[in-house]
C-alpha cells in the first residue's frame, strides 16, 4: 500500500512499548489526511515516545503502526521520504553555518523548494551564513522547522516545537504551520503541553497521560461537550452521580460539577435533587485537559 492508497496520514493500533519505569499502553490513534492533530500531555506523559514509535525510531513491543500507508518500523525508509520530523531538543551541527544543512537537505530531497527556503529565512529572521552555535533556542527551532518545511513533506511530525519560545516566535511558527495546510493532503501531528498553541491550529486533539490515550476527538466536539455547572445545593442534600458528570467539587452550599457530555437534561436532573443551577460555563481547552487528566487518574486509581 503506498501513500496515495490510504486516506489516513497515520494509524496506530494497540501499540505498546514497555520501559523499566514507563509503559506506553494500548495506543489507538489515527489522523485523516489534510488535518492537524495536537497531542497534549504533561511532561513524561508519553508524547515523545508515541512520536518516536510513529517515526520508527523506537520499535513498539506490540501493535501496528502505519504512516502514509507504510508499516513502521519495517518500511520506515520509504515513509521518511514524505515525513518531516523536528523536535524541540533536536540540534544541528554547531560548527557549521545554516547554509550547510540547507544544501545537505537540497541534495537529498528532490522536493526541496529553494525559493520557499529563502522566504522562510526572511520570515524567521535567520541568516544562512551564520554559524549555528550562535543561534538562540528560538532560532534553532526555526532553523529545524525551515529544513523540514522547505522539503514539502506530506506529513509533519513536530515534537514540542513551540516549547520555550517567546510569544512572537510561537506565533510565527504556528502561522507557518497553518500555511502548510493550504496545500491539499498535507497533515501535521504536533505535540505540546501548551494547550493554547494546540487549540489555535488543531482540528483533532488527543490527550495523553501516563502512557495512555485518555481522549481523542475533534476540537469543536471537546468545546461543545465540556461544561462547568455552578450549583447551589441545600445543606444536607447529597448530589447523586449523574451520567456525563466526571467531577464534583463541593464547599458548603456551593458545588461545581464538570461534565464531559453536557446535555440540557443535566440541568433538570440537578434541579430535581433540590439544587439550583447558578450558571453553565464553557471551558477552555486547558481546563478540559486538566479535568480529563484528573478524571482519568481517578478512574485508574479506583
Amino acid at each position: 500500500m503506498n501513500d496515495l492508497a490510504t486516506d489516513l496520514a497515520f494509524e496506530l493500533s494497540g501499540v505498546c512499548k514497555k520501559y523499566r519505569y514507563f509503559t506506553l499502553e494500548d495506543i489507538h490513534l489515527k489522523l485523516p489526511r489534510g488535518q492537524i492533530m495536537g497531542l497534549i500531555g504533561a511532561n513524561g506523559a508519553g508524547k515523545s515516545t508515541t512520536i518516536r514509535v510513529l517515526m520508527g525510531l523506537v520499535h513498539q513491543d506490540s501493535g501496528e503502526v502505519r504512516v502514509l500507508g507504510h508499516r513502521m518500523p519495517a518500511e520506515q525508509v520509504a515513509a521518511k521520504w514524505d515525513i518531516g520530523f523536528a523536535s524541540e531538543d533536536m540540534r544541528l551541527y554547531d560548527s557549521l553555518t545554516l547554509d550547510w544543512p540547507m544544501g545537505f537537505m537540497r541534495s537529498i530531497y528532490p522536493n526541496w523548494d529553494g525559493a520557499y527556503a529563502q522566504i522562510l529565512l526572511k520570515r524567521f529572521g535567520l541568516r544562512a551564513e551564520q554559524k549555528m552555535k550562535g543561534f538562540s533556542h528560538g532560532q534553532r527551532v526555526k532553523a529545524s522547522l525551515l529544513l523540514v518545511l522547505a522539503r514539502k513533506p506530506q506529513l509533519l511530525v513536530l515534537d514540542e516545537p513551540t516549547t520555550g519560545l517567546d510569544p512572537v516566535a510561537r506565533h510565527e511558527i504556528l502561522r507557518e504551520l497553518t500555511g502548510v495546510m493550504a496545500e491539499e493532503g498535507r497533515s501535521i501531528l504536533f505535540s505540546s503541553h501548551n494547550t493554547q498553541d494546540v487549540e489555535q491550529i488543531s482540528d483533532q486533539i488527543t490527550f495523553i497521560d501516563r502512557g495512555r490515550i485518555i481522549d481523542s476527538m475533534d476540537k469543536e466536539t471537546y468545546l461543545d461537550r465540556w461544561r462547568r455547572l455552578r450549583l447551589e445545593v441545600p445543606l444536607g442534600t447529597e448530589l447523586p452521580p449523574l451520567p456525563g458528570i466526571v467531577g464534583v467539587e463541593r464547599q458548603g452550599r456551593l458545588a461545581v460539577a464538570t461534565s464531559n457530555d453536557f446535555v440540557p437534561d443535566l440541568t433538570h436532573a440537578y434541579e430535581n435533587t433540590g439544587a439550583r443551577v447558578q450558571s453553565i460555563e464553557n471551558m477552555t481547552l486547558e481546563e478540559i485537559f486538566v479535568a480529563n487528566v484528573e478524571h482519568s487518574r481517578e478512574e485508574v486509581e479506583a
Binding site: V58, H59, Q76, V77, K80, I83, D89, M90, F104
Partner: protein, 224 residues
C-alpha cells in the same frame, strides 16, 4: 536513493572531522621526518610520536564522529532522514573507517617510503612496522564498535583507556618474540610465519569486531 543518503551522511562526517584528520596526518608526517633525520634519541621520539598520532586519531575519531552525534543531539536530525538504523550504522562504520584508514594508510605508506628511500633505518623493520601500525587500527575498530553499540561516553572512555594503556604491553610482548626481534636489523624485510600469523590475527580481530558491532546494532529496538 537510500544509497545516495548514505553517501551524503559519509560526506557529512568527512566535512565535520576534516580538521582532526589533517592535524593527525600533519603530526604523523612531522614525526616521520624527525625519525628519519634526527639522532638516535630524536629518532626514537619521532617513532613514538608517529604511533602516538595514530593512537590519538584511533581514540578521538570514534568520539567525534559517533558519540558526538548523540551527545550533541544531532542524532534525531540524522535519523529523521530516510535511513534505517542499520543503514545509519553502515554509514557510520564506512565514514569513520575511511576517516581513519586514509590518514593511517598515508602515514604507513609514508613510513615505508622513508624506510625504502632512506639509509638510516634497515628494511628489516618493515614487518614490525606493519604489525605495530595495525595495533591502532584494531584499537580504533574496538573503540568505534563500543561507541556505536554502547551509545555512551562511559563505554567509549573505558574501551579507549583499555586500548591506549595496552599498547606498551603489546609492544613489549612483540619485542620479546625472538623470531621477530632477530630480523629487525637485517638489510631486507623477512616475512616469516610469526610475522604473517600476527598480521592475520590482527586482520581477523578487525573483521570479528566489525561483524559483531553490525550484528548487535541490527538487533537494537530503540535508537534515540
Amino acid at each position: 536513493m537510500t544509497s545516495s543518503v548514505i553517501g551524503h551522511l559519509i560526506l557529512k562526517d568527512w566535512r565535520l572531522n576534516r580538521r582532526l584528520i589533517s592535524l593527525c596526518i600533519g603530526v604523523g608526517l612531522i614525526a616521520l621526518v624527525i625519525a628519519q633525520y634526527g639522532g638516535q634519541v630524536v629518532r626514537l621520539l619521532g617513532s613514538v610520536w608517529f604511533f602516538v598520532s595514530l593512537c590519538i586519531l584511533g581514540s578521538m575519531l570514534p568520539a567525534s564522529a559517533i558519540l558526538n552525534e548523540r551527545k550533541k543531539q544531532t542524532l534525531a536530525f540524522v535519523m529523521s532522514l530516510p535511513v534505517s538504523s542499520v543503514q545509519y550504522a553502515i554509514a557510520k562504520a564506512l565514514s569513520t573507517s575511511a576517516m581513519f584508514v586514509v590518514p593511517w594508510l598515508t602515514l604507513v605508506i609514508s613510513a615505508l617510503v622513508f624506510i625504502e628511500t632512506g639509509r638510516s633505518i634497515p628494511h628489516g623493520t618493515i614487518p614490525m612496522l606493519l604489525i605495530v601500525a595495525m595495533l591502532p587500527l584494531v584499537a580504533f575498530c574496538l573503540i568505534s564498535a563500543a561507541a556505536l553499540v554502547g551509545e555512551s561516553e562511559g563505554w567509549l572512555m573505558a574501551t579507549s583507556i583499555l586500548c591506549n594503556s595496552s599498547y606498551w604491553l603489546v609492544w613489549y610482548l612483540l619485542a620479546r618474540i625472538a623470531s621477530l626481534a632477530a630480523n629487525w636489523t637485517r638489510p631486507v624485510a623477512v616475512w616469516n610465519s610469526t610475522a604473517l600469523t600476527i598480521l592475520s590475527v590482527e586482520l581477523g580481530l578487525i573483521a570479528s569486531i566489525v561483524g559483531l558491532a553490525l550484528f548487535l546494532q541490527s538487533r537494537k529496538r530503540d535508537f534515540i
